[in-house]
Point group: C2
Chain length 430, copies 2
Amino acid sequence: MPDTNPLRLGIAGLGTVGVGVVKIVRKHAKLLEARAGRPIEIIAVSARSRDKDRGVDIARYDWEDDPVAMARRDDIDVLVELMGGSDGPAKAAVEAAIASGKHVVTANKALLAHHGQDLAAAAEKAGTVLRFEAAVAGGIPVIKALTEGLAGNEITKVMGVMNGTCNYILTRMEATHQGYNALFEEAHKLGFLEADPQLDVGGIDAGHKLSLLASIAFGTQVNFDAVELEGIEQISLRDIEEAAEMGYRIKLLGVAQMTGRGLEQRMSPCLVPAASPLGQLEGGTNMVVIEGDSVGQIVMRGAGAGEGPTASAVMGDVVDLARGLDISTFGMPASRLVPAKPATAAVPAAYYLRMELEDKPGALAKVAAALGEAGVSIDRMRQHGHQNTVAPVIVVTHRCSRAQIDAAMEGLAKTPVVKGETVAIRIEEV
Amino acid sequence: MPDTNPLRLGIAGLGTVGVGVVKIVRKHAKLLEARAGRPIEIIAVSARSRDKDRGVDIARYDWEDDPVAMARRDDIDVLVELMGGSDGPAKAAVEAAIASGKHVVTANKALLAHHGQDLAAAAEKAGTVLRFEAAVAGGIPVIKALTEGLAGNEITKVMGVMNGTCNYILTRMEATHQGYNALFEEAHKLGFLEADPQLDVGGIDAGHKLSLLASIAFGTQVNFDAVELEGIEQISLRDIEEAAEMGYRIKLLGVAQMTGRGLEQRMSPCLVPAASPLGQLEGGTNMVVIEGDSVGQIVMRGAGAGEGPTASAVMGDVVDLARGLDISTFGMPASRLVPAKPATAAVPAAYYLRMELEDKPGALAKVAAALGEAGVSIDRMRQHGHQNTVAPVIVVTHRCSRAQIDAAMEGLAKTPVVKGETVAIRIEEV
């Protein structure tokens, strides 16, 4: 018999997303009841400040100063954790909820990237369900697609642009012909950056998300530490414009792939074809690409952040719980998730290289020699007009390993005709 | 306690999709068990011919000549119906399965478009679950996204290109500069067409799918008869090339939208911007666009047909059932689905008109007058060089209602300078 009692929520965290959840529960009470088969009610809320004006009336809900105390209340069925942070109160509240037999819905990618395995095991032991659709790619129901809809597939690859702020900065650099610093400032003023901007522009936030997708896709224990991380701070307007001229766009792209050598997880700026779905992604939009042995390629696109989209993802999980969904956190029991051997840069690729060459006869030949010694062969090369005594040179290589590129970079650094640092960006033919 | 006994399947229909399902169950037995928490086994199969070579060994399964008898077997938990057809054995088998307390997974859009309401009510009464992910947009988990992932949203619009064969014909017409008939023949030779090609090119198959999405999206009873249907047979190479010159592509596009006047459902050729995700859809690929009040716009793309993708969708449903998912067929109890008032062409749009004009002074003025009398105003007009004594003229109108366009077409037909029939295609600014 399905449960027809109300599903009772305690919401910890009343920032943008928490307020969005309150609004949906209130506005769509009847619709949610029709869909879930039972009412969905907010019983208690907890946040830093009780009196802050949030544009929604929270006086009708019980207030708890301590989210852990709220998580333990007998009159809630689900803790909705929207505080964020990989440790501290968020972790304490989630653990308390699980220990006292409550389900958990969270948008907290940092928490799960660092403690997902333990929390999944704890939830299973307690017989509760831990869900996190809102933690990855905002409103796009990608956790559901991967865990449930595509459960008949061996997943071969997961890719995605999953940090809207980085994509905003990169697409605005191209559109406005301004450098990274100017657009970083713009994003900051618009409130697009996390309190610690490194989480965004350093690729950490997107790396968290990738590690969660990889766990579900490959049945492996979450291993965020094994994600090769590279942020977007080194991307110059020049690189964006050179890429555009060759038909590419630069995206902070995550790729997780099971290879013969182990699980490769990387989050780094890549050149992708401008005409591809990933290449055309503008602003804060996210895109996730999933490849499975039966389904082929599935592409999902939507808003990656913001009140409505993230609250929509939270509510998808809440309705699932109201309907009685019982599923393991990462799609199979925590005890069956295997530790994956990390494979660094296992998959070869073509690379874009940009360097400054001294304007001397034979300089290009020296570059070609340095690349050749590292086993890197040249697909295309273009030299621009001189700027003072140096000339910018762009090289597109044939497919090679990251190790070969690193060796080539070392060789180039030793070549006196190469001035400053050479930039190397992977080309992903998505 | 979750059920750890095997989930036992009876498969009715061993065409492309049925064989694909058998292959997945066999190849991924361990993976499926890990994900579902219990083994998934095929107990019995039924098809027209027992001895046909299908490339998979079916001798290990019980054979049933009669799918209805199979549906009633005590040793199956789920009927997987892959025979197709809105009535006849498919309907009889599904009804028998439900009546004897079995769950049903089907890829049969025609069956659900015609009998979905009754079957949903029967399944609920019997306490069984009826799922149909594979019936819409092949491998794209769109039923799941709409019913579950986006359950916190009031859905405002659903759009999609959901017949791969039509999209193949239209994109190949543009690529090869051949007319409709040549590409229809090509699609036929490649086995892309249904036994009754009208199901594809007449838009019926895609209309079935749209009516199912609309039911979930708007909480309404499936009403396929209210879908305004228009096929692609009237689309000429000339229209495709004219559209391309103006930055558009012609797609067989489905749109379902709740308007102030009722539920609009239409499946018809439309001009869409060539640079939009829908405009860029090539070949047999499908795309579904969902708009919700919180989530904004979600776009999902993937293979719309074929053994692997469709079997993937079937297996998604099967794994859901193994995990104990209990959900109403159309996302809420059948008794709560309301009959929606059909609203024909409620939403105004710009239109593309193509006509042949007699090459006489004042001819264009007469066209403008006929349009003006119908209340249709002209955004752009272009006249090409004469061909003999007639000149092709293209008009793009400002936004107007379908009724105004129909009145304009009537007026143009009465104008002696207009030769033959005027073509009118809606422009959807997606």
